[in-house]
Symmetry: D2
Subunit: 316 residues, 4 copies
Amino acid sequence: MIELTTSYLEEAIEDSRPFAASGNVNMNLPNFDETMKDRLGVSVITTDLECYSAGEHRQFVPMQSTSKVIGLMLALQDFGKERVFNAVGMEPMGDFFNSISQLESYDTTKPFNPMINAGAIAVSAMIKGQSPENRFNRYLEFLREITDNEKLDMSEDVYEAERANGSRNRALAYFMHSTGTLVTDVEEALDLYYRMNSVMMCCDDFARVGLFLARGGRSPRSNERLIPSNHLRTVKAIMMTSGMYNSSGHYAVEAGFPCKSGVSGSIIGAIPGRMGIGVVGPAIDEKGNSTAGGALIKKLAQDLGLNMFGENGGTG
Amino acid sequence: MIELTTSYLEEAIEDSRPFAASGNVNMNLPNFDETMKDRLGVSVITTDLECYSAGEHRQFVPMQSTSKVIGLMLALQDFGKERVFNAVGMEPMGDFFNSISQLESYDTTKPFNPMINAGAIAVSAMIKGQSPENRFNRYLEFLREITDNEKLDMSEDVYEAERANGSRNRALAYFMHSTGTLVTDVEEALDLYYRMNSVMMCCDDFARVGLFLARGGRSPRSNERLIPSNHLRTVKAIMMTSGMYNSSGHYAVEAGFPCKSGVSGSIIGAIPGRMGIGVVGPAIDEKGNSTAGGALIKKLAQDLGLNMFGENGGTG
Amino acid sequence: MIELTTSYLEEAIEDSRPFAASGNVNMNLPNFDETMKDRLGVSVITTDLECYSAGEHRQFVPMQSTSKVIGLMLALQDFGKERVFNAVGMEPMGDFFNSISQLESYDTTKPFNPMINAGAIAVSAMIKGQSPENRFNRYLEFLREITDNEKLDMSEDVYEAERANGSRNRALAYFMHSTGTLVTDVEEALDLYYRMNSVMMCCDDFARVGLFLARGGRSPRSNERLIPSNHLRTVKAIMMTSGMYNSSGHYAVEAGFPCKSGVSGSIIGAIPGRMGIGVVGPAIDEKGNSTAGGALIKKLAQDLGLNMFGENGGTG
Amino acid sequence: MIELTTSYLEEAIEDSRPFAASGNVNMNLPNFDETMKDRLGVSVITTDLECYSAGEHRQFVPMQSTSKVIGLMLALQDFGKERVFNAVGMEPMGDFFNSISQLESYDTTKPFNPMINAGAIAVSAMIKGQSPENRFNRYLEFLREITDNEKLDMSEDVYEAERANGSRNRALAYFMHSTGTLVTDVEEALDLYYRMNSVMMCCDDFARVGLFLARGGRSPRSNERLIPSNHLRTVKAIMMTSGMYNSSGHYAVEAGFPCKSGVSGSIIGAIPGRMGIGVVGPAIDEKGNSTAGGALIKKLAQDLGLNMFGENGGTG
């Protein structure tokens, strides 16, 4: 086992960076271009609050699908497990994250799980608030608290790009509306979803979200438990089976701890009782996962003994 | 947290037994009838080799799909990870375990993972041996060693029933043969698969298999490592994402440790570094999992702190 | 063979009316209620312009899917066969008319044919015009000419109901927009589609559309050919293979001539060189076809020798 | 309109032969090789029994899927329409002819129609006979009578090749057995199916089958009606909607009369009341239809006015 130090992380970054070559930057995102391709950063924060960073860990990218983790926590808080999983399943699916056939071809029209787009749209429609603004503010305030970063905010440019490229998500949402899975106003639900995806974060922030999950849902400000343990277990289990798009099974084998990725090249990792990890590497594979970031996650699992299926249950 | 004792297990059995009422006994299996319905047994063996049992833990049932775990270990040993996962995927699928559409509708004709029937047939065709008898004997000898039970053997009646009800598996195997996924003799591959499913075991044996996975692949006889750690991690990760048929996501959330079930009502559980669990409860739900056995597994996870996604990573 | 007379049609109506009992009125349509259930009307116009009617042949209902026939004729006229079938296929599909999986699960994202909703939305987006109003007016003027009925118009109530229940069609259209199949403004395309579906017609008008198809595309006013013969052949062939939703194969066998139905209980029939038929019977089956109307169509085919697969090719 | 003469057919052959270049010969069939690629033959027999032939009309090829037409006639004769279509549907499907997903993914496990492999296996299992030999003999005798060709027989080589490449059909048949769609012995059903596909015929024979369908099911020997008219109508309608694999819709539009093709490059055409057509052109497209043969069929439709959707209903 290797000891976690800054210099170890720096080496790990340089070992993993070449994997960026096999990926592509998602050019639909504003300011994402070829110059982003080989950027790679990582932050790790242990449950005793030691922080380590390396590479371009201050590179801000939009949350994209990593927002699904936050949305699920808030919906569980607001409606409880039973009602949330009445609207959306908790089964992994061996298909692409934005599948619409899945909604049609099974007995149930419930989206398979909250980590696919359809499921996340249905789940985020459950975040409480008196108005659309209010609901997004609640999301943003929660995110600011758990990352202890008051400056986090949505990018208007990303939000506009999400809306402009939103036909597939619109199709998913209107389909769910037609089957009664989505009962709220469709355009409002989509608007919130786009806003959630557009919040800009860097590795430090992503690592803070991972730490929040790994450390009992405690606020870094007050140390209070903000989300009950059982909801956190639920979120982490779903990240394990479904967090890395159509490669979730691969990451369960090769990393062995709960992760959630976004097409901005971001990854949140949460090793229960040990640490949170934030990675940003914008070159993604055809499944949607950061190529260099994924390589880095697997290397950390191996070197630091984080694989929960190891003999010691990921404890070293 | 509750302490693991025999009397705790006895209470847990009685609390879980009523769930048998919502299930049905698989009448295709010889000697399976209504009198089996409310039987429920459990054995737990900790990594420091303490054994606890309760209920009908001496009820023998055929392995059925729990054999997939053994087949995967042997194939990994014989061909290595790369070649095995060249023939079969490692992604969970949100569909029934014996789906044939899955084989047809995706770009690849690889079965999704080794825990579904198609995948398991392809994987068990990789167990080495000079003749069909030889290959089954290797499987049986391995099973006898890791359970330390020389008496384990195949039931001829179950084997005959498997063959007689084998049209669906035949369809899967011939389909894979037509696409080049299965290159060996189809009838031989099926024959081995039927034999593997027909070995009779009780809770003590199932728990021994779980312990083997949880404790670094050590023989209970020689204490030697029979299967390398990285293969065991692979098997446990795949059990977590895909071991409980189409309810795997549900069990990842509600139990939170690797399990594999069979339609005989058997369940193998493996909590890395802590314990192996064997359950038998013949009444199964429409997904194929023991109803009372599943309830028991979830209760143990909760009471004994076995959920790996908990704050302490399943260590209490 | 029975001779076509008004009294024969009256008998045929009374023989077919009882089949209404097995259907249901589509209550999403304004003014559609239980009192509509057993209405049934028919008009037949031969190519030598003899007209026969019976039953409630003056019952007006919205065109619904029968509009797809008109949209396809206009798009063929405006863009030609090659360009239209570059955007939409011409293969029948064994699935429900509003399937979205079909759009996702095949190599191509082209809708299967112009008779399913997705295909019809894509096709009607090809009707030329300088503005949305202009395009609908062109549709309406064409319809007025071929039915020789200047009074035909859209029902505002039906249009509003179409819009209000439009989530499924919105999902189809946005999905096609996301794949590049639909390149025009989605909301405009849907608006035109809803308007087309909302034009009110009775049996006489539906029969006139059938006659237009059966008689070389001649205007009943000027006797001029408005649509070239080869486009009419195309439309009739597609009606035969795909015009009766998921029962198209059944009607090819049992009626044996080109038909197109709508969920308002309307049916257009076209027997090349012989006659046009219009039927209205609001009680529909779960596929979307009028139950009494379908029975009547099959009876006429049998009694009047209209089945084109008969020994005399439907000529008696 | 062009007059049907031998010299016209010779020209039509030479016009169509170049389309062979875009196809490929099915090398799984014995004696099928590159030298077969640009062969093309045609025979036409009118209902007043005039015969015209051109090109390699004496080239013998195995029936392959054209046997489905014969099997359906015999099953209808033996069990009647109701029982046959209780076991198999009559709806076209927009999918490849040997799809197994179709069997799984719909409510019903009935094969879509008798022209796809699954449907044909189920249908041919309905041909009556006291033994397998007896059932095949009945098929062969019927074929000899309607083609008036006592020499027709099965090729042992083709039969062996069918068996050797039969995994996909085996998968289909075992799947249907597992769902209860196929209740007879699977291996016997497959054996009959392989034999039926292996009968060798040339254009003259295929044209005779077409004529039989076009001319009221009369024996060319006795002029007696061997199959009732309503069964022939059913067969022709199903050929129209489903006879040309996944291009059936295309052929309904472009040829407009009932056809059935086989992967040996054979096509049977039946124009009710007018003529039977037999075509052989071994180069096939990826759907399974003869490329040059298909071009020829479409040319004949156009030149001879055979399209039933034309103004005169295909009567010139």
